[in-house]
Amino acid sequence: MPEETTVHLPAIEKHIEHLHQGFDYWPTLENGTPPAMGDYRWPAEMILSTWYQAGTREPPDNELEYRTGDSGGGFDKLDFKFLPKEQQLPPETDIDLAIPLNRRGGHGPASGVDREIEISLPWYGGGMSFGSVSEQVMLARAMTAKEWGTFTSTGEGGFPDSLVKYKDHIITQIATGMFGVSEETIQHAPIIEFKYAQGAKPGLGGHLLGDKTTVTVAKMRESVPWVSLFSPFPFHSVYSVEDHRKHVDWVKTINPEALVSVKVSTPTDVDMVAVGSYYAGAHIVHLDGSYGGTGAAPEIAKKNIAMPIEFAIPKVHKYLLGENIRDEITVMASGGVRTVYDIAKAIALGADGVVLGTAELIAMGCTRCSNCERGRGCPFGLTTTDPELSLLIKPEWGAQRISNLNASYAKQLRDILRRLGLKNIRDLRGRTDLLIYKR
């Protein structure tokens, strides 16, 4: 059992103060960028620009690059074909960013009473479980979701009591370990998400390290403290679309109004998976590409198994169009969506919206150092359940940071649409004619 940490609050307060100063200082570029920060996918400037937006609600006004990364492919190869200035919509144009999540109406095959849900922004928060992140982080995300009329997902780790008052904005995830899944948590949820696979470790299941399985986490997951927890892959009860339909029937019996989301990875036949999900009664198919993820995963899986989201989105979009069911299911994309420009590109490629994870953590101070799994967990108090480290994030502060990022993203997204001559985010979906491929 890990040693109990003695928390000395003045020391915590000291570190919080210095950290917050650092989050404000570094994006000014007064001293350049931190030399060891960043990588091809999230260069230092992209991390710092996210900190900047999380502090100011605005995109950077200095030379920080906040639109694209250095990966040399995918979103970083795409740009928008903006209209000449005189053809763009005037700045005062009212531009709508809302998207519906239930496109099947109230009479989907799984139920006759499915909720009508619209989110005010074309994104919501991805699953990060209690245990993989702290309760403070979950609370911060839930508060923001409520403020913006969107959602966040529990991940596979249950529903701490402190989240109950935000339940109308929380997606309950049901994954293969069934951790934290109860009749009550299913009844809470406007949306139930079945996680069949995740992009960072497709086909490999989940693993919560023993050090993170604290007494509270273990209680929530109905397991033993300080013992590693494995979510096997795949669902032991699902071999087919029909089996999945059985799962949908099961949750709809407990919560008849809930929408059903199906989170899948991006194999060669991801298009068929999406169609199968639709016929099994899903309202949302959530495609999780291979380059994202917030938790620990084998390096070999992240880089090599399943395709990046940029390729999966158009594949699924076109196939659903061909099947004549595109307007009856919502396609949400995740796995390497880093900026509002990525969000817009994902939608132009064919998604209805996206699911964010890493960007929210970076807003709260993540440096993408990749030490989430090491020792006591994240040194910034994010992906940890360490009683001392987790105090580095105050939920109200975290919520404000994510909210500020949302504000900046919304502002930029409206500007992108205005420059493309579109009044509605829904009109951007599948508009690959508005993109340019950069050689």
Binding site: R41, G203, I300, I305, P314, R368, P379
Partner: protein
């Protein structure tokens, strides 16, 4: 072949085997002592003498936990989380260590070196948080992704637990049918085939790294992991059958002094089926009737491969340079595919074994090479890296490249490092196979439908976008 009573599940014992020589730290920690002193004084005042708060440090890894804290940082503990520099930009700077980034060469970059070193040290699969950090795709192996299935698994008990996925591969001649006489007896020759539990063998080291110690490490590690080690015949002093002697024309007499019957012999320098080579193969086959004879050659033209096949050769060890290129610069991925397809189109692919070397420097390259068409790979530079060998400049050429092995490495240490590496590469292969729902690696060979290529995916996704 084990009997039912003797069955043991294949397992490699791993244990930590820390670095033998000190490698450069990953990060350099620069502390401005004046600013640190200033910070300390400010904090004593600000915290009103609460020394617990004053001395509470931002680093949780021990970088500033020495006797005089940040005044003498310990960069060997730094993991690059950047919390210190985020909190105190005026006092601390963390830099990537250029000495560390110089490890390896332009192909076997320091990131790959770091991964192999970690695997050899710990016997564990590299696991990290926060998503993928590298380039989107790229040339060669980087432009290829492996498939997965949302619902299919070989079994349902976890790939490292009770679920059994076979990584056994066969080397040798595999005739498509056997001939029996009227009495039901075998009329055709007994096929010479051996099975090894992992789809990789250890290749002979380049000249500049050769040493008796290294050969002994290779032979012992191969024996313990039940694979094979290719070693020049002149250095085959170990009486272990895991050793595969390789000979050049004129060295065959040295095989008489081996003291054991090898499972396999490799003939080097066999670029075309000359009468000399034919006669050597035939002589060796008479001398060692149960031994598999393999040809070691640079990736040849299709005609040459088929000519060798017509002359009875069934095992080919195909060599690219250490950067994974053929003589004309063709990427090894394409060379493997060409060789594989040559035999597929001739209708004899199942009768031959293709072993490949060169450019396979990471665990993910093994399944990718097998998908592309190899039966198994022969590891070269990763073994040297596991043993903390330094590259001198760019090491592409097999003959001219200079490698510096650390002096006096202990045998046990070297063997354990290679065992750890072998175990982690096998475990990672299991991850890939498990994700696909495959029960055995033999079914992966040439299964290009199990791979997704960047060039194809990009065309499918972006073809209608202006500028593509």
């Amino acid at each position: 072949m084990p009997t039912n009573n003797s069955y043991q599940r294949y397992h490699i014992d791993t244990k930590p085997s820390p670095d033998f020589v000190l490698w450069p730290n990953r990060f350099v920690v620069n502390v401005n002592r004046f600013q640190l002193a200033k910070l300390l004084i400010t904090e004593i005042i600000h915290q009103r003498g609460d020394m617990k708060a004053v001395t509470s440090r931002p680093c949780m890894y021990g970088t500033f936990s020495g006797p005089i804290g940040g005044f003498a940082p310990r960069p060997q503990h730094c993991v690059g989380c950047l919390r210190c520099t985020t909190q105190h930009p005026e006092a601390v700077r963390i830099l990537r260590n250029p000495d560390r980034e110089r490890l390896g060469d332009s192909y076997f970059t320091s990131n790959y070196v770091g991964a192999v070193a970690y695997e050899a040290e710990t016997g564990s699969i590299p696991v990290k948080g926060a998503g993928y950090r590298g380039k989107f795709g790229g040339a060669g192996w980087d432009g290829m992704w492996t498939d997965m299935s949302e619902i299919v698994r070989p079994t349902r008990d976890g790939i490292h637990g009770r679920e059994f996925i076979s990584t056994v591969v066969d080397i040798g001649e595999k005739p498509s049918y056997l001939v029996f006489d009227e009495d039901g007896g075998l009329a055709s020759a007994q096929p010479r085939t051996l099975s090894i539990p992992v789809p990789f063998i250890y290749d002979a080291p380049p000249k500049s790294a050769e040493s008796e110690t290294l050969y002994e490490i290779l032979a012992s590690a191969a024996e313990e992991t039940q694979t094979l080690a290719v070693i020049p015949v002149a250095s085959c002093r170990f009486q272990v059958t895991s050793v595969v002697p390789f000979i050049k024309l004129g060295e065959e007499s040295q095989l008489e002094n081996l003291g054991f019957t090898p499972k396999m012999i490799e003939i080097d320098d066999a670029q075309s089926p000359t009468p000399n080579i034919q006669s050597l193969i035939s002589n060796l086959q008479s001398q060692f009737p149960d031994t598999i004879i393999a040809l070691r050659l640079e990736y040849p033209e299709a005609d040459t491969l088929l000519e060798f096949y017509e002359n009875g050769v069934r095992v080919f060890h195909l060599i690219a340079d250490f950067h994974g290129r053929g003589n004309d610069g063709t990427p090894v991925m394409d060379l493997i595919r060409q060789a594989h397809m040559t035999f597929v189109e001739a209708g004899v692919r199942d009768e031959v074994t293709l072993i490949g070397s060169g450019g396979i420097i990471a665990a993910e390259h093994v399944p990718k090479a097998i998908i592309t068409g190899l039966d198994l790979v022969a590891l070269d530079t990763p073994l040297l890296t596991a043993l903390q060998t330094q590259f001198e400049g760019d090491c592409a050429d097999r003959e001219a490249s200079q490698f510096n092995m650390p002096a006096n490495i202990p045998l046990d240490w070297g063997v354990q490092r290679l065992k750890n590496l072998t175990a982690t590469w096998r475990d990672q292969l299991l991850e890939i196979l498990g994700a696909m729902g495959l029960r055995e690696v033999r079914r992966l060979r040439g299964e290009m439908g199990r791979a997704m290529f960047q060039v194809d995916l990009e065309r499918e996704a972006f073809a209608e976008i202006e500028g593509y």
